[in-house]
Chain length 227, copies 6
């Protein structure tokens, strides 16, 4: 039976579990969702080089899954391999960054992004430029937390609220995007603390993918309507 | 039991039936969908004045439905009352124009729009400008068919293929949006004739709304996470 | 004798009187100006729903005035019914938001907007996007004053100077727009306090309309040159 | 008595007479208008070098006129010296290119420009970019007529209609700007032949200037409200 | 002695020789230039997947060269690995696509791109969007030639002139970019046939890199000024 | 023997010496560079009027130099006469503002500009708009120092670091442009103090010009390939 594969391109099982938890509410829609960890990925993707380097093994994994796939979600904010995989398959392929942005654009007028690291921001800006949505961006600010602090949920949430507050009050955002995968547990408390919608990107992409599968809608017209 | 209400703001039952047919594949996802006709609407919405004038009765209808609503889709390309209804409810509210664009942006790099009438194009351009996506627009071209011709399915499809071909070959579109509601039956033949993805906007918005409902994700944070 | 009708789409006679006062200096140009209150409008237009809902009665009023009209100004920042009315008449139709922006673009390089309410800002941003002028926007900030404070002229001016100063110093604006109708009395003190030009939108639109009338210049070419 | 000075920065009296004719309908508004020829200008301004070179004598002339000036219009499409003169005086200073664009933006959604020479187009594009309105530009096309043809009114009008038709039908313009000074006589026949509004830039700038004078509205706040 | 390394990320020695020939005029500037072929690359880079997949070996090669490098040029239109390599080294790293665009922006107002394949165009558009220069793009058109035709120099040049003529006459380009590496021999004949400047991207990037080396100017400030 | 002429359009020999010092590292590339002072220029160019007024003598000087010129750099941030001189000669003509921007765009994602005076900023914004790169601009902030303070190198550097820090931390710049000519001595200390690349515009333009000369690449195709 065909499934929607969500591929975490880093090798952290903890992140994959976080993604799996994030998409739990979407399982009610009836599409089978399977979250996978890319064994060849680095423990975390922090640089453009790391993002580029996962593409080769990610394409290999996706090719192995092709026959069983109803669609694919690439679950790394940065969408590594998104367009490459779209070249390879006619099944729906969604990226969590792209879908988070498209979702945010229907929830508010100016979106703010909570980045994990300052170094991610130029990559985000290039991506938003490629998407042509720069005029809708309010701001992109980094948590700037070390590993220890990120492991502390209370400290992380407190910092997210602080950064989100700056995006709202200083930059004028009226919707936020969490610039990371696997932190869905913070969405509701962030929304309530800030009084504004927050997009968890794995949720955004998975919901989008399920709709595409149901509609048999893909980026590539080949045999997608056949049979 | 709460339902997703799709409101056709014109008074044509035929259009509502077309919308109902369009979203049939999404019923498999388990959310109850109900398509409604706005009795007070004009037979068709062709001008900005008509679009503006349906907002008052549309808001009234939505208020009546509020208690039973899981969410709303406004099913007129032009999204009349979209932001007004978002002011009034914390349930997800999606517009077919906005969702069609966001969907198209993940299916191709430059979208083309098939408008019904030439007079619709300036309205579309204002909407795309408000969305901040003008740089992704390849072109917007009108069918320019009279009522008789539109009633002839073969002639309409032939003209759609002709206009879509111009959007693809002259304007550089690699994904198309049907700028109307209720013509889902043309999606597959258009995709095959032109070899490119075609977005039917009622499908795009309804799929988006279903994801929002499943994720309890809305534009307004009030009591949406409560209980 | 034909007149330029300025329609205040809210039902507040005080606002209409403020508009009338604002355009007083333009009466020297010889075009008869008549300021009207839309009886069916709400006391104030604060939401998108209210803006949309005035369109129907506004169009009806304009239709009643058509024979005597040299042109129309819609005097609500938000320009409700602007494009709808343009569909209906070949007489010049100007909106105070649109004209304020076009005026500001010739007075400075980056315009700042003083909004009444925070909730107005997303509407403004959609309008500026539709106008394609987002790159010229320095910032949009709200007074955030309650009714009592707005009734206090000194307090209102003090807050306007404060917000204008933020737009100038933090956001880089070199021209300001008052995002409301009927506050022309604050224009000169604001300009002097901040040392920068301030556009009062009713003045901007009325001056523009007078020029169009003199030039017999309209958006619609039908019989406008006839006779 | 103070007057609105319209300065033609080329030395052609014929062009100045054309400008004078263009603004005739605006004389009814009661502001005294005086059209002047810049003796030091070239017979026509066709290159950026010529445009730059008229600035020095133009500023000198304006300085001589300052005491009698209610305002200034620089009547060359390209707006030479516009910002320089704004630095020098607190009286309203308007350029015909800038005002033509701002006028067109309220008459249609996408403006087309009829240039005299192909070499003017890159200059126009730089100016539209500086104005931040590129997304509203449908196209800019040149007449490409030699001096002899331009002297033939029928041939010129025929070519204008041809170029305007391309801007409308191929580029999607719904309003046109005449990219030259002194051709107001073609406005009405062009509008009727093409069924769309046409902006004559000297009219647009002069109408704007008259409004500014009546409102005592300028780009520079110094003594403009004094007395 | 340190050298500027130009890395051809495909494995075609013929392309590397074409690049070497292209940059010959720049050898007079005294910086030693060495053109290398990435052995692990595909024979040609035609898809996003191929572009992504060369990054890993390209970074490895650059790391091996680091000690001897004065700078790097990545010689594939698409700039694979550009930002990844910039993360890894403080030596100047230039991409031929990015430099071709920046060069074109100083040679004309609107640039046209001659792509090899239609499938390259969406990739180009994403890159131009990420660069934020979409408003300067006139058009991007593909040669659409098969391998045999590309091997025929006369046929290729003829087709380039044809496509360049469309970019100039239909799209309004006044400068062209060759969207490929190793075809410098066509630059002069194209310029003469079309009467407009043509940018060969390997030349553009290598000239840029030489300037950066001479100025000790890099994207990363670490030890670049030390010693 | 032909030379690259760098023309300082103000009459300050001190500035010319600063420019000469700035380009010293580029002399190793073998192109003869000669820095000239425009005797007719003002002591400094602070207003648009001054910028416009130097064009006439600058063009005259360039015409006198034409026979000996390999190319021209106009060394005033504001690029006075850039397009005028390009109309007059087929030799490479580069402006320091334009080249500084193009250089910065390859060194970071968002550029910040250190202006000398607040009044320069609107001119910069118009120029960046004409270049179509506004979406890449992080901010533009003025030193706002008087003549005495500018003469004090330590005070100037300290203020540059302060302003650069605001551009980096408040505005999000990751590369800086010095918005002036002749201050190359501050580049290295600024880069080290702020940890980010700094573009000195005379260096940027001269490096660019040298590449163009070596490649025989110009904006105008006439006889540039001849002989």
């Amino acid at each position: 039976m065909s499934r929607l594969f969500i591929i975490n391109p880093n090798s952290s099982e903890t992140v994959t579990q976080g993604i799996d938890h994030a998409v739990t509410p979407l399982r009610a829609l009836g599409v089978t969702i399977e979250c996978l960890t890319l064994a060849e990925g680095p423990p975390g993707i922090e640089t453009q080089a790391q993002a580029d380097e996962v593409v080769t093994p990610l394409l290999r994994l996706a090719a192995d899954l092709e026959d069983d796939a109803a669609g694919f979600v690439i679950a790394c904010f940065g969408d590594p391999g998104l367009h490459a995989l779209r070249d390879r398959t006619a099944k729906p392929v969604l990226g969590i960054q792209e879908c988070a942005v498209m979702t945010a654009l229907t929830l508010g007028q100016r979106f703010g992004v909570i980045a994990i690291l300052p170094a991610s921001i130029p990559r985000h800006l290039r991506a938003f430029g490629a998407m042509g949505v720069t005029n809708r961006l309010a701001g992109d600010r980094a948590l700037g937390l070390g590993v220890a602090a990120l492991a502390d949920e209370d400290a992380t949430l407190a910092r997210m609220i602080e950064v989100g507050g700056l995006l709202r009050d200083t930059d004028g955002a009226d919707v936020l995007i969490m610039g990371c995968a696997g932190m869905a547990r913070f969405r509701a408390p962030l929304e309530h603390a800030l009084g504004m919608p927050v997009v968890e990107p794995c949720q955004a992409a998975t919901a989008t993918a399920i709709g595409r599968i149901a509609l048999n809608q893909s980026h590539k017209i080949r045999d997608s309507h056949a049979g």
